[in-house]
């Protein structure tokens, strides 16, 4: 009856996808600061959207012949030295900026730069191209950085509620006309009209759709996005919005604990089923508690629920295709 029951059969495949794609999930706290190194290649290319349209993107990629949008999520610890090398393979100048850290460097066409900085206050930050704003960010040059408190594997900030797992939920909205214009090194001149909506670079594929259940295609099962937990497996979502649309993050099954808003620690933690996510790099940190769904009768401890943006235009692709937008699933196991 539950449409995604068969996921369990493929859990071995998912596990390997996890370790391959998401080294940050292996985060362990350390007693001493370390130097964390990462190389990004600025690359470009086309990404096929759910309606078959190929849209131009640039990304902070893992190799010169890949295109990663968003760039890999990074998790470091407060006090770590973070060494980022950016290799610009393109014919356009770009900039690498780390939000909240006073770090920004221009990387000219065909050149490379290495910058080092000390990871600052615990929290969730964008790294992104701040030049030609907001266009270079919108065309795909963005990613997430988490700074963990010292010695902590389970807190967002010192004294915060604890979590067991953490995810980045990086949302984006895409106007292909703007992307083509940026490709052509011109400034977009049309009214912004987003047609695709992504979570960690992917969109939903409902059961029966081409690519459904493929973690490389379907945001509903992408292990970077989908939540899996037993009762009590509290999961932190570092929610970020690279796009221009203001959103409403809506979880089914449990209310979320709302810890931070745009980098600010909230004075009280509210339990919410919809959380306001601002456009233009809005952020929030949420914990999905994986409690028993409180209004079930009889009680249940297993099953699937969606997380979707309640700004429902974001659940479409190309002007239709409901459920092919920014959505993932939450699995009580």
């Amino acid at each position: 009856m539950r449409r995604r029951n068969f996921l369990k059969i493929s859990s071995g495949a998912l596990a390997s996808a996890l370790t391959g794609a998401s080294s940050y999930l292996l985060w362990q706290p350390r007693a001493h600061a370390e130097t964390i190194s990462k190389t990004f290649y600025i690359t470009h290319g086309y990404i096929t959207q759910p309606d078959g349209v190929n849209v131009y993107f640039r990304g902070f990629s893992n190799s010169s012949n890949s295109l990663n949008v968003p760039g890999d999520a990074l998790i470091v610890q407060q006090g770590d030295t973070v060494r980022i090398t950016v290799i610009n393979t393109l014919g356009t100048d770009h900039r690498f900026t780390v939000q909240g850290h006073g770090v920004s460097t221009t990387v000219r066409a065909g050149e490379q730069r290495t910058i080092s900085f000390t990871a600052g206050n615990p929290g969730t930050y964008f790294y992104y191209d701040s030049s030609n704003a907001p266009y270079n960010r919108l065309v795909g040059l963005h990613g997430g950085l988490a700074v963990m408190p010292r010695f902590s594997s389970n807190r967002v900030y010192d004294g915060s509620p604890t979590f067991k797992y953490q995810k980045f939920w990086l949302f984006h909205d895409i106007d292909p006309v703007w992307h083509a214009r940026i490709r052509d090194r011109r400034t977009p001149s049309t009214r912004y009209s987003p047609r695709y909506f992504t979570l960690n670079g992917l969109s939903g594929r409902p059961p029966g759709a081409p690519g459904a259940m493929d973690p490389a295609v379907d945001s509903m099962v992408d292990p970077r996005s989908a939540l899996h937990g037993h009762i009590g497996d509290r999961t932190l979502m570092r929610v970020m919005n690279a796009g221009l649309c203001q959103q409403s993050v809506h979880c089914h099954g449990n209310h979320v604990e709302w810890l931070t808003d745009n980098g600010k620690i909230l004075p009280d933690i509210w339990s919410k089923d919809c959380v306001y996510l601002e456009g233009n790099m809005g952020r929030c940190d949420l914990i999905y508690p994986f409690d028993y769904p409180p209004d079930a009768y009889p009680r249940v401890s297993r099953g699937a629920y969606p997380m979707h943006l309640h700004t429902e235009m974001s659940q479409t692709a190309g002007g239709g295709l409901y459920m092919f937008g920014a959505i993932t699933d939450i699995y009580f196991e």
């Binding site: 009209s193 919410k272 306001y276 700004t311 429902e312 235009m313 002007g319």
Partner: protein
Amino acid sequence: MGWRRRSSDSDSSSSTTTSSSDSTTSTSTSSMDGGGMDGGGMGGGMGGACYVYPAAPATPGRVTPNVSYNLGIDMNIPLTMDDGRTVTMWGFADNGGNMMGMGGGGGGMGGGTFPSPAMRVRQGQIVHTNLSVNMMMMHTVHHHGIEPAPHSDGVGHITWDVANGTYTYQWRPSSAGTYFYHCHTNTVLHAEMGMYGALIVDPPEGPGRLYSNGPRYDVEAFWVVDEVDSSWHTLGWTAGTCGGDVGLNELNPDYFVITGVDGSGNSAMNLPPISATVQRGQRLLARYICAGYHPQRIRFGGLTGTVHVSDGRVLPRPIQVTQLRACSGERYDIIFEPTSRGTYLIETDIIHWVTGEVLGTTRTTVTVV
């Protein structure tokens, strides 16, 4: 129980002034078999639907409820705006479309209102929402903010879209506060078309208290603010599901409604239970639901309110506000204790999700005597 005036309401004043005798515990018929067969639903029929999951199975773990709601479907609800134009809305209808048991049309046409009929239950009650849909289309009920078992959550791609029969959603609300319910099939369209209604969970002691042992109130107002893009309102229920650009990424509203009436002019200015009249010393509870998709900002016209509950959860510490921002699906329960006579204008701006431009504003009033 009503949250807007409907012809079937026996007591339209009960919604503005609550009393403990406003019982919500009556049990009505709990199940009906089969949906109507003669259809007539607008919008293309099933041939044009993709990525829908039709079913109407038996409800796992079904028990005898304390409260039941029997909902049908109405795809042709005229809503007349202040400019005289009529826009077609969709919605749920009381009593399975008013025609259940008569063998025709139930779950298809007739009897609906915009917004859909309010549900009002008490914390801890076992509730059945019996949704009847005919064979020509599919819909669900998602009780937004209520967190039941997946099979009672009304999300098509997780479970099923109700078609050609009656499905019973079984749930037991754990937390008092303001919720709403809406269709979750082709949601972007169906919820915009008006397929939603208020859902109030009272504490066990009943209306008059916001939550158990929480603040009391004397008068209640319902501010359910939504936007309408009339260009969407000629689409069929399957629109866009198989692909093709039907414009569902662009919501360009031309009407702004509050609790079922055009709110941009004077229609809601003196229309309880949207507007409210309170005596000094009384407490007004405003149940505000951001039912549209674009963000909103509600301004209280000089009144200061206290938010005690949001999204059906008590805040650790209440907050005092003169205005609030809200995103789609959020609810705020705000108590006002006005001390100065006067008429206060309650305005809600609907704000474009990209540009931040104010697209329209709904207006109603709180009068303090």
